[in-house]
Amino acid sequence: MIRLRARVRRTIRITAITIIGLILAFPLIYLVLGSVMTSAQLTSFPPQFIPTSFHLGNYSLAWDYMRGRSVLNSVIFTVATVGLQWALCISAGFALAKLRFRSSNKVTALLGVSLFVPIITTLVPTFIVTDKFHLVNTYPGLILPIVAQTGFGTLLFRQYITGLPTELVDAARVDGTSWLGILRRVIIPLATPATGAYVAISVLTAWNMYLWPLVVATTPNVQVMTETLAPLASSEYGSIPENVGFAATALTTLPMVVAFLLAQRAFVRGLAGSGVE
């Protein structure tokens, strides 16, 4: 009798979990469904959820609206930012974790400061510095100030690499391996889980970034997707049909959804780690 009640309770709980999950994910499911509807179906009232016909053409119209270029710019921005920042963070994190030098703690503290400074505080001055280098509306101007936000990544790698056995480093030293060789052949392979978490969270942040590009990339040749997408939310929505707007939104969102599904472990660790400062 007790066992039966427990089973019923469990079934109810699992059903509730599934229904609430579907509610939470609903906006995304609706986005995908709406992106292949006709404009008439999407705007009909009462709202409809199941597409009566599939219009993948919405996506090519959306691509044209985003001018393709902004999609490409988002890819360039994300890859360059994460790649460069990763190299800076893992090498510095390694130095802070395994090399002995006097000012190690001071450097760690200096990098930690940035975690507590809101982006808006440095927005205008960073723009001024970028302008002084004549980098406004260029790729380096878009990319380098974000690459420079090395605080989180460096501390993450420092913490992870500190946990790796020092004997491995010593053994490599005995074999006469250079520090750069140790970084490349010992540390980087062993730090793969940390790299996974770091890359997941950093790719996500860069891909979704809005404020800095909005300020520093104002010409179409360097604008990223969040910038071309955002106007769809205001009055300019009239410029393209709603279903194409849905397709454009899906176009920017689905790559990250797919990445999340493929590398859920890394993302989960990255999201959880984003708080463990």
Binding site: R13, I14, A16, I17, T18, I20, L22, L24, A25, P27, L28, P46, P47, S91, A92, A95, L99, R100, F101, L110, L111, S114, F116, V117, P118, I120, T121, L123, V124, P125, V129, L144, P145, A148, G151, D170, R173, G176, W179, L183, L204, W207, V215, M225, L229, A230, S234, E242, T249, T253, M256, V257, F260, L261, Q264, F267, V268, L271, A272, G275
Partner: protein, 316 residues
């Protein structure tokens, strides 16, 4: 120990005679080579960090004592901007809006995050797949979620008003009504922040052995008693982390969502401090005043995080 000595010896041999000048103490030369390597690994990082983070922080402070509209050189006006700030009625309003936005956003996120984490903290066959539904909104950008939710909020036509109409409620014009605009932005931000909160709480809950909860149930402990005596002690420390992470997320959304959806309106009810700073800097081109406001934001941020850090120490 022997290994280390042998290593030093070998290193000295390998270095050859040319390098031997300063290595009467082999340890010292090795240490200096370590320092050189450390400098090499750190330099590119710290140079960029200094140019684009440290200098801008110092510059923000310096600019806050000047008046500057990008034309000509900044003019030193001492505490002028801070005096102007005190007389500016928009400033306390922006702070109040920011605080309300945080309050109505962070508290529901933390409570819902804990409740949902407790709900999904169970093993069943497709638990991984189902949990994905809870986590996946975390990857959506503010820009995309703004567009998506604006569609859901559409007055009279959107899904929200459609559902409300079914239970006989006439939905307001969510984003353009002064009473609902801020809450509407909060709801979007809660949706985006919940996954991380659930994730963090789930990590804490999974450290509580299920046997402990089962034993409590057999002892006849009710749901509330279980929550108070078993769950809460297990997630108390995590709660502060969840609050900090959620505040950071809401601080970002208090610009992105506002700029995309409401531009501070209607009648300034969604003008958060960050949006006000952005507006002062890039619309009014009062860079000195914007810098002073951003120092205020930094101070507020420091106070909030300081209080949370103190709470964390207290909780232990």
């Amino acid at each position: 120990m022997t290994v280390a000595i042998r290593a030093k010896a070998r290193k000295r041999n390998a270095a050859g005679p040319g390098d031997g000048a300063g290595s009467s103490k082999a340890g010292a030369s090795w240490a200096s080579r370590d320092r050189l390597a450390a400098a090499g690994f750190l330099a590119p990082n710290l140079i960029l960090y200094t140019i684009f983070i440290v200098i801008p922080i110092v510059l923000a402070l310096a600019l806050s004592f000047t008046s500057w509209n990008l034309v000509g050189a900044p003019q030193w006006i001492g505490l002028g901007n801070y005096r102007e700030m005190i007389d500016d009625p928009a400033m306390p309003q922006a702070i109040e809006t920011t605080m309300l936005f945080l309050l109505f956003g962070v508290i529901p996120t933390v409570i819902l995050g804990l409740l949902l984490a407790m709900l999904v903290n169970v093993r069943f066959r497709f638990v991984g797949v189902v949990r994905t539904l809870y986590f996946v909104p975390a990857v959506v950008s503010f820009a995309a979620s703004a567009i998506l939710w604006q569609w859901i909020y559409r007055p009279g036509q959107g899904i929200l008003d459609f559902l409300l109409a079914k239970v006989g409620i006439n939905g307001p014009a969510w984003l353009s009504n002064t009473h609902t605009a801020l809450i509407s932005l909060d709801i979007i931000s809660i949706w985006l922040s919940l996954p991380t909160a659930i994730l963090l709480y789930l990590a804490a809950l999974q450290r509580i052995p299920p046997q402990v909860i089962e034993a409590a149930m057999l002892d006849g402990a009710g749901a509330f008693s279980r929550l108070r005596n078993i769950i809460w002690p297990g997630v108390r420390n995590m709660t502060i982390l969840v609050v900090i992470v959620t505040i950071l997320a809401f601080t970002n959304s208090s610009f992105d969502l506002v700029n995309i959806l409401t531009q501070g309106g209607p009648i300034n009810v969604t003008t958060t401090l960050i949006y006000y700073i952005y507006y002062a800097a890039f619309n009014n081109v009062q860079l000195g005043y914007a810098a002073a406001l951003s120092i205020l934001q930094l101070a507020l941020f420091a106070v909030i995080l300081g209080l949370l850090a103190a709470a964390r120490r207290f909780a232990r």
